[in-house]
Amino acid sequence: MRSTAFLTRIPFARRFMREDVAVPYLLLLPAILIVVGTLLVPLFILGNMSIRDVQMASLDEVFQAPLTVDHYTSVLTDPDTWKSLRVSVVYVVGSVSVAFLIGFSSALLLRQVFPGRKVFRTLVLVPWAVPGITATIAFLWMLAPTFGVVNYILRSFGLIDTDINWFANPDTAMAAVIAPTAWKSYPFFTVMLLAGLASIPSELYEAASVDGAGRLDKFRYITWPGVKSYAFLAILFNAMHAFREFDFIYASTRGGPAGATETIAIRIYNEAFEAFRLGTASALGMVTFVIVALVVIFGLAKQVRSAMGTSI
C-alpha cells in the first residue's frame, strides 16, 4: 500500500482506489488478457489468413501476403463443406441421444435406494475420467475386425458370417465413432439428471400413488417435468462438446473412410495440418465461427444466458 500512497493525492485516483472501482478490472485482468491473447488475437490471425494467399513456407510474412477471396469461394462452392456440416449434425445428434439414453437410465437406476448404491454411483461415472484418446483405443480394440471382442460375440451368436471392419466401413464408421463419444459423455447426463431427480419432492409421488397413478403416469407427469430443465441444459452442453470434438475421430478414422466421419472440426484440421491448405482451412474456420455465433446469438440466446447465470 505504501508504494501507491502518492496516488491518493490525485483526486481521481483517490476515488478510484477508495471505492474499489478498479478492483474488479484488476481481478479480471489475467482472465481478460488470456481470453484476448488466445481467442481474439487468434480469430484476428485466422481472419487474416482466410483472405490472404498464405503458404506454409511464407508463414512468417502472413500479414504481407497478397489479398484474395479465393479461399471463401472455394470453401462455399465445395460440396464437401456442406457434407461435413451434415456429418457434424449426424455425429452431434447421434452421440448426444445415445449418451442421453444411457445417462438417463443410469440416473433412474441410481435413484433407487439399495445396498451398495454409493459404490455403483462412483463406478457408473468412471468413463467421465477416462481420457478421450484412451476411450478411443479401447473401442478401436473391441471393434477390431479380426481379433475384436465385439465381432467375436456377434460370431458366436451367429449374427455375422464375415467380420465387420467397423471403423473402415463407410456404413458403420459413424456408429463406430459415436460409440466411444457417447460412452465418455453419458456420465455427465447421469450427474445432471440425478441432480434433477433429487429436486423432485417425494410427496408428489406419494400423492400420485394415493390417486392411483401407474409407473408410466408418474414418469410422464412428475419425473419428466421435474428433470426437463436439467436434461435440456445437459443436452445443450453435450451438443456443444460433440460439435467441437476432435480426439475420438482423429485417433480412429481421421475423418474417413471417404469423408464419412469428417465433421467440420476434423475438416478444419485436415485442411490445415494434413493438406497444408492454410487459407482454405482459415476460411472454413471463419465460416464455422459465423455459423456458431449466429446460432448462439439468435437460436440459443435465452438458453445460453440462463446457462451463463441469470445474475449477470
Binding site: I34, V35, L140, V191, F243, D247, A272, A293, S311
Partner: protein, 278 residues
C-alpha cells in the same frame, strides 16, 4: 416367488446395478485385461473373459523405453503448470464476476462462453502461427499456454458459481471490520470456497492431462510429446501392437483415476453447480 421378490427387492436393484455397471465398464476392463495378457494370447479368435496368463511385460517395456517414459514426464509438467495458472486466474476472475456488477463483465462472460463452443481445431491453427511467430512452436510452454487459455473460461464460470453460493454478508462483514476487497477475498472467502478451488484445480489438471489437439499440433519431436500424442502415434495404419497400446492406455488412466477417486464428491457438486447455475 412373489414374496421372495418383495423381500429382496433392494438386493434385486443391487444385482441389476452390478450388471449395468459391468456392461458400462467393460471397455475399461477389456483394456486392462489385454494389457495384462502376454502378446501371444492377445491375438486370438476366441478371446476369454479372464486372462489365461498374467504378464506385466507390456508395462515394463513401456516404462523402460526412454521415449515413452518422457511422454509421462512431459504430461505431468503440462498438467501441473496448467492447473495452477488456470485455477489462479479463474479464482480472481470468478470472484470479480460474482461480486461486482462492473460494466463489461457480461461481455467477458459471453466471449468466454463463445470460446467454449468454437471447435478447438479452429483455434489450433492460429495458435500454430502465433507460436511460430514468437518462437515457442514445438515447446512445452506453447502447450501450457494453449491449454490454460482453453481451460480458463469454464474454470472461471465454475469459481463464479462457488462464490455465488457464499452469502455476500460474509464479505460485507469483513469489510466492516476493515478489510479491503482483496483482503476480504483472501482471508474470508477463499477459506470458505476451498472445495471450489480444489474442484477447479482437479478439473484443470484433468483437462490438460487428456489434451490431444494442442499437443498434437504444437509439438513435433517425439521426446517432447505428451501421453495422448504418444498413444495416438502408436495406432499404426497397418499393424498395431494392441498389448502395448492397451498398457499405455491403462497407464494414462491412472493419474486421473487417482484424482477422481479422492475428489469425486466435489467434482460432482462442482460440475452440476457450474452447469446449472452457470
Amino acid at each position: 416367488m412373489k414374496v421372495f421378490l418383495k423381500r429382496h427387492r433392494r438386493w434385486a436393484w443391487t444385482i441389476g446395478s452390478a450388471l449395468w455397471a459391468g456392461l458400462l465398464l467393460f471397455p475399461v476392463y477389456w483394456m486392462v485385461q489385454t494389457a495384462l495378457s502376454p502378446t501371444e494370447n492377445v491375438l486370438s479368435r476366441n478371446p476369454t473373459l479372464l486372462p489365461r496368463d498374467v504378464s506385466f511385460d507390456a508395462f515394463t517395456q513401456l516404462l523402460e523405453d526412454p521415449t515413452t517414459y518422457s511422454w509421462f514426464q512431459n504430461s505431468f509438467i503440462v498438467m501441473g503448470v496448467t492447473a495452477v495458472v488456470a485455477t489462479t486466474a479463474a479464482t480472481f476472475a470468478g470472484y470479480a464476476l460474482s461480486r461486482f456488477r462492473a460494466p463489461g463483465s457480461q461481455s467477458v462472460t459471453f466471449v468466454m462462453f463463445l470460446g467454449r463452443i468454437l471447435p478447438g481445431t479452429l483455434i489450433a491453427l492460429p495458435f500454430f502461427v502465433m507460436f511460430r511467430l514468437i518462437g515457442l512452436l514445438g515447446t512445452l510452454p506453447a502447450v501450457v499456454i494453449a491449454n490454460t487459455s482453453a481451460i480458463i473460461p469454464f474454470a472461471t464460470l465454475l469459481m463464479k458459481s462457488y462464490f455465488d453460493s457464499i452469502p455476500s454478508d460474509l464479505d460485507e462483514a469483513a469489510r466492516v471490520d476493515g478489510c479491503s476487497r482483496l483482503q476480504a477475498m483472501w482471508r474470508v472467502l477463499l477459506p470458505v470456497a476451498k472445495t471450489g478451488v480444489a474442484a477447479t484445480l482437479i478439473f484443470a489438471a484433468t483437462a490438460s492431462w487428456v489434451d490431444l489437439l494442442f499437443a498434437r499440433t504444437l509439438l513435433f519431436d517425439e521426446n517432447k510429446w505428451t501421453v495422448p500424442v504418444g498413444i495416438a502415434s502408436m495406432i499404426g495404419d497397418v499393424q498395431v501392437d494392441w498389448n502395448q497400446l492397451m498398457a499405455a492406455g491403462t497407464l494414462s488412466v491412472i493419474p486421473v483415476f487417482i484424482l477422481y477417486w479422492f475428489t469425486e464428491k466435489y467434482l460432482v457438486e462442482g460440475m452440476t453447480a457450474g452447469a446449472v447455475k452457470g
